[in-house]
């Protein structure tokens, strides 16, 4: 898959001698919805952190849209077109829904201190454009205007997750990384999430990579699935191929403390 949007090759990461990722090869094609699954502690979130620049792998290469990502600091990775959400919703506390989403526009806008102090016309136009774009993102994820000025962390949990996705969309990404977006959602909200993920790809043309424990959701929404176990990629394929892969079944069921969530 040489035309991949995101390409990881031979990525290895260790903390103080403990191997977290070993020689991981992984691709996300342009316009794809791809899932990364695996037992707890397999290294899924670490892989996200490598992609987004928070962890620096000891070896390997990560390229995205023609850029070499490994040299970049996290804010440059975001500027290059990768946005993410967090496993435990991490909205800015004490700030409103709108202010939260506006953070995403930072790397797409320019105005500095002088423009703000003088209230230059360009600065005011930019502020209005930021608000407009963020309203669009909030509307897209289904958060209404009555919630814009509420403190984000006082919203119902399902809505906080949506606000977090809107904030990621405001960075105008080409690839969206969702870290367990369905965690804590009820059955109805999960269906809404599946529809939202599809719309993100179909209407906005954003590729999606998700980490998820809810295998039902994973099977429904993703075209390709990769399985990570003990820091190594053990399988890659379509939902059908993954379901019948003996290595995957062993990874999930063959361990004593198995969180045997893979309900085939």
């Amino acid at each position: 898959m040489s035309g991949a949007l995101l390409n990881l090759s031979g990525v290895s990461l260790a903390f103080a001698g403990n191997t977290v990722l070993q020689n991981v090869d992984f691709q996300v094609a342009e316009g794809a919805v791809v899932s990364l699954i695996g037992p707890n502690g397999a290294g899924k979130t670490s892989l996200f952190n490598c992609i987004t620049g928070f962890y620096k792998p000891q070896s390997g290469a990560i390229t995205f849209d023609g850029h070499e990502l490994l040299k970049l600091r996290p804010h440059r990775v975001t500027a290059s077109g990768i946005a993410r959400t967090f496993q435990n919703v991490r909205l800015f506390r004490e700030m409103t829904v709108m202010q939260n989403v506006m953070s995403g526009m930072h790397s797409r806008t320019r105005s500095g201190a002088i423009a703000a102090i003088l209230r230059l016309p360009s600065q005011r136009a930019e502020e209005a454009a930021i608000r407009d774009y963020c309203e669009g993102c909030l509307r897209f994820v289904g958060v209404g205007p009555e919630e814009y000025d509420r403190i984000a962390t006082t919203l119902a949990y399902g809505h906080q997750r949506r606000v977090e996705i809107a904030r990621a969309l405001a960075t105008q990404p080409k690839l969206l990384l969702l870290d367990e977006p369905a965690a804590g959602l009820n059955a109805g909200e999960k269906q809404d999430l599946i529809a939202l993920i599809r719309r993100i790809r179909d209407e906005r043309g954003i590729s999606v990579l998700l980490i998820e424990h809810d295998t039902g959701l994973v099977m429904q929404v993703s075209e390709r699935i990769s399985v990570l176990d003990h820091g190594a990629m053990i399988a890659e394929g379509t939902a059908k191929q993954i379901q019948s892969n003996p290595k995957v079944i062993e990874a999930y069921l063959g361990q004593e403390d198995a969180e045997a969530e893979l309900d085939f």
């Binding site: 987004t52 928070f54 600091r73 996290p74 804010h75 975001t78 500027a79 946005a83 993410r84 967090f86 991490r90 800015f92 506390r93 004490e94 700030m95 202010q99 506006m102 953070s103 995403g104 526009m105 930072h106 790397s107 797409r108 806008t109 105005s111 500095g112 201190a113 423009a115 703000a116 102090i117 209230r119 600065q123 930019e126 502020e127 930021i130 403190i151 904030r167 960075t171």
Partner: protein, 325 residues
């Protein structure tokens, strides 16, 4: 939190809500401006001098509020930038005969450069280290001022001239009172505009969660440096007019106590909240004055009051809405 506090919070919110109607807000602003204008005539020279000092503290506290309140960086050596502003004016006007108004931008530039030199390497560190480095920087600046010939060693500089502005010789305490009124208003306007801007929001994001801010595309080091330099510029402007007002400066005007007093004004009023910080600055300066008839006990009484305020209102007298302990 006691029920009484919640009631006072509600009252404050109601008052604040009233001021959201534009007519009342402009009326309130007009009233404050009128009070500021008649104060010297109404209260006499002593009160005018005290108020001038309080207004200087408003400028300094609003500057430090950008660093501590907005960006969440603990700065224990803020008086150093105040010193850089004052000494730059002193040296340039006395030794080089430069006009005050030409020396002012140099003072601002000097403080900005000092901010970059100290902030550049240290803002990569987490907050606790920054506190130690800034504490050290504050002391280094004071000791340098006390030992260098150009800063007049321990006795400092004296005979700094009073500036002219379009034919107005800013000379009497009342003149300086009005100059500091203008500076305080300017500081408030600049603070408000920065707070509601792309950069102001970025400071809050970084303060609340550095990692998430970075994941949202914000360059955390650059944003913190901008806060640090902005704070330094506020202090330098305050220091420049402070030097012109007193005509004499000495290293002891820029001690660690000075940094702590400014920090206290910020924390006391409510970090990050502009009206709170203004209130804090007035309390820090006017508090000891109002308690003057208690004689020797006044500083102790003042200290106990501060402790009680912090005990019962840990996020300040007038904190940000929704930021209650």
């Amino acid at each position: 939190m006691t029920p009484r506090d919640t009631a006072s919070d509600r009252l404050r919110d109601r008052i604040a809500a009233r001021f959201e109607s534009p007519a009342l807000r402009w009326g309130g602003i007009g009233l404050i401006l009128v009070l500021m204008a008649v104060l010297p005539a109404a209260l006499g020279q002593y009160a005018t001098v005290i108020m001038t000092n309080a207004l200087l503290y408003v400028v300094l506290a609003l500057g430090l509020n950008v660093v501590v309140g907005f960006a969440g960086l603990l700065d224990l050596g803020y008086a150093a930038f105040f010193a850089v502003g004052a000494y730059t004016i002193g040296i340039l006007t006395l030794d080089f005969g430069v006009n005050f108004w030409l020396a002012l931008p140099v003072a601002v530039l000097a403080a900005a450069i000092a901010g970059v030199i100290i902030g550049g390497p240290t803002l990569r560190l987490r907050s606790d280290y920054l506190a130690i480095v800034t504490l050290g920087f504050g002391e280094i600046v004071r000791f340098s001022a006390r030992n260098l010939a150009i800063t007049g060693k321990a006795s400092g500089l004296s005979g700094i001239g009073q500036p002219w502005l379009f034919g107005w010789h800013i000379a009497t305490p009342t003149d300086f009172y009005f100059v500091f009124c203008a500076l305080a208003i300017l500081a408030v306007v600049v603070s408000l505009r920065l707070e509601n801007s792309r950069l102001g929001r970025a400071w809050l994001y970084v303060r609340h969660d550095e990692d998430v801010a970075e994941a949202m595309g914000i360059n955390r080091v650059a944003v913190k440096l901008a806060a640090y330099v902005t704070g330094a510029i506020f202090a330098a402007i305050g220091g420049a007019f402070f030097a012109a007002n007193l005509g004499a400066i000495s290293p002891e005007s820029f001690s660690f106590t000075q940094s702590v007093l400014i920090l206290m004004a910020v924390i006391l009023g409510g970090m990050g909240k502009i009206p709170g910080v203004i209130l804090g600055a007035f309390i820090v300066i006017l508090g000891p004055e109002l308690l003057r008839n208690l004689g020797e006990l006044r500083l102790m009484v003042f200290a106990v009051m501060l402790l009680l305020i912090m005990l019962f209102r840990p996020s300040g007298i007038w904190p940000k809405r929704g930021v209650r302990s």
